[in-house]
Symmetry: C2
Subunit: 377 residues, 2 copies
């Protein structure tokens, strides 16, 4: 399911085998919340180097509905994506995105804005939903406290997250009709508290899940605090299981988190910023709308081998950005995703060659300041 190919310090290179192919880790997953990486075809996403996407099962439950996705042959068939599909449970979105919701021990009660009905997302329901969608890697429903929640509140979220993971594992056993089903990951919570992070991870590890998400980070906390909470979480997780740091997608944060032993990442940052004209490069980000990009005959980044830089000039993309044409948003999305996928792939190479620390040093030396990105599209 997951094998560790190499380690360099805490950084790891591995391979995650899923029902739709093997994902070489560290890996960055483009966000396809509603079964589409915004503006892009699956071929274009594949060309960036991505081999796994993450969809949101809760959003897809609201529309078009899991039953319809199933009738269309599942998420892969629906989207035309031959690679791996992760699905998130949607707990994070429900709790944090201003839905009219109530957290209960039984699950998350919310009003379905499309039908007006009050529904409840339960741990068992979230498992069934992701099974029905045809996910390769499903995430347990978790309770993600907001940044700034007090210790007692975070502790309660942990208890709930652990209880929900246990119920989800039971539901999973009841559903499974043989090998070859999706992998199932729990999510470590615990805010910025060492003891809570470790006890939450310990409890989930005792459930022997297929892998572990690290949640509740990159939601507003200072970077050093995030780094510490990530380290505490990872320290309590077994070497043999993949670790998925949720919601991280800036270059500096990716390298910092790979250094701590995280294997999988997702973020809407590269694509959302592309649509707003922010271009990611190894020399830092820049805004495509800036007037000094006008008339530049070179590519978005000198030497970049991405499909956008191979075919279009920065001057033309600046023009498209100023005219707000979607073609510019597409081409910038391809460039940014390619940049992140290439970064993660080079990081992997460096880990295998036991030169990850110097790779990071060289890379970050060219990068003025850091940027952050999180949350779904």
């Amino acid at each position: 399911m997951f094998d560790l190919e190499a380690m360099d310090g805490r950084a790891r290179a591995g391979n995650l085998r899923t029902p739709h192919g093997t994902v070489a880790t560290p890996a960055f997953m483009p966000v396809a919340t509603k079964a589409v990486v915004k503006t892009l075809t699956p071929e274009e996403v594949w060309e960036t180097g991505a081999r796994a996407l993450i969809c949101n099962s809760f959003h897809l439950h609201l529309r078009p509905g899991a039953g319809l996705v199933r009738r269309m042959g599942g998420l892969h068939q629906l989207m035309g994506w031959g690679g791996t599909v992760f699905t998130d449970s949607g707990g994070f979105q429900l709790i944090r995105s201003g839905f009219d919701m109530k957290l209960r021990d039984s699950g998350i009660k919310y009003r379905n804005g499309l039908t007006g009905a009050v529904e409840e997302l339960t741990p068992e329901g979230a498992v069934r939903l992701q099974w029905e969608l045809g996910s390769d890697v499903a995430m347990a429903l978790d309770d993600c406290p907001r940044y700034g929640t007090g210790r007692e509140g975070v502790a309660q979220s942990c208890r709930r997250t652990i209880d929900w993971a246990r119920r989800a594992m039971d539901a999973r056993s009841a559903l499974e009709d043989g090998p070859g089903g999706p992998l199932f990951f729990g999510i470590v919570q615990g805010g910025l508290d060492e003891e809570l992070r470790k006890s939450c991870a310990d409890a989930l590890v005792s459930l022997n899940m297929d892998g572990y998400g690290i949640g509740g980070l990159s939601i507003g906390e200072p970077k050093p605090e995030m780094q510490r909470a990530l380290r505490w979480s990872v320290e309590a997780l077994p070497l043999s299981k993949p670790r998925y740091l949720m919601g991280v997608g800036s270059a500096a944060e990716l390298l910092g988190s790979i250094a701590e032993g995280a294997d999988l990442f997702d973020s809407a940052f590269p694509t959302r910023n592309a649509r707003h004209g922010t271009i990611m490069t190894s020399g830092g980000n820049y805004s495509l709308s800036r007037a000094d990009n006008a008339g530049i005959a070179g590519p978005l980044e000198e030497g970049c081998p991405c499909p956008t830089c191979r075919r279009f000039t920065r001057g033309y993309l600046h023009h498209l950005c100023i005219e707000k044409d979607m073609l510019g948003m597409r081409l910038a999305s391809v460039h940014n995703l390619f940049f992140v996928e290439q970064l993660v792939s080079e990081a992997r190479e460096a880990i295998v060659r036991r030169r990850f620390a110097s790779f990071c040093e060289e890379f970050l030396a060219g990068m003025p300041g850091a940027d952050s990105g999180s949350e779904e599209e």
Copy 2:
């Protein structure tokens, strides 16, 4: 420059040789007002079968400016389009699109909304502009009266259009430094008046231009009136020159106008409607957002060989339309353009085989009602 390959009734099949390739006519040109066919790459446009685009020199003058386009290597280089580029002068847009403008015999005075400056688009300036952009086929500045203008107003527009064409031809002679420059078309005006249409065409023909646009149609007039005005215009034009009916792009109008002897067409109709979820098929148009498209595993149109229908289901495109994702707009644009390009190409084939009338009859029998489309994106 233009050779007539076959005629069937008044319908013609021909070949227009331009500095960037030969365009087989009848031909439909996708609209790339601001040097982009909205949402699409040049490769995607090429795959629809299109071999010529039309840009708007006035819009490109406003932004990014002809000097910049020239420094970037001209329109073809800027866009990455290897086919033919027509450019419109922008007179139509200035007069009809609510710019703060004044029509004078010298030209069209307007306020440049980006700089605040009062500028004048003259016949000579429009020629220079299109030369500078690197156009393959440039259009003379014309004065296009609104639908409903009285006879005296239309007559004045004709006089001005003819005078401007003469001045443009003089300016062109002054610019030309040898063979291989762009072709230069005049535009026949005259509203819905037989005498004015014919006298305007006669006057332009005496200037021996490379081809003739037929303007001032598809701007709100009833279809039979348009058909008549088109016929009067065409009757006064020589067989040996290409005729470009401006602003026509619905299936029924294209066939009706090809039957009258028009060779070239442009319209934002297929792409704009695609972005709003209207799908063109040989059975008529339908709205992709309609709920009965949900879950359909077949393509947008059964048997359609376009890149969209080969790869994506109608159910998925419906989902993208409901979620307002740009990917859906792109894929629908490709389908609609492919549909129109295929229609025009099949019409050409039918003309060559002298069975155009029965082709039209068969095609229109499957098509409930007609639709109209005009104006730039």
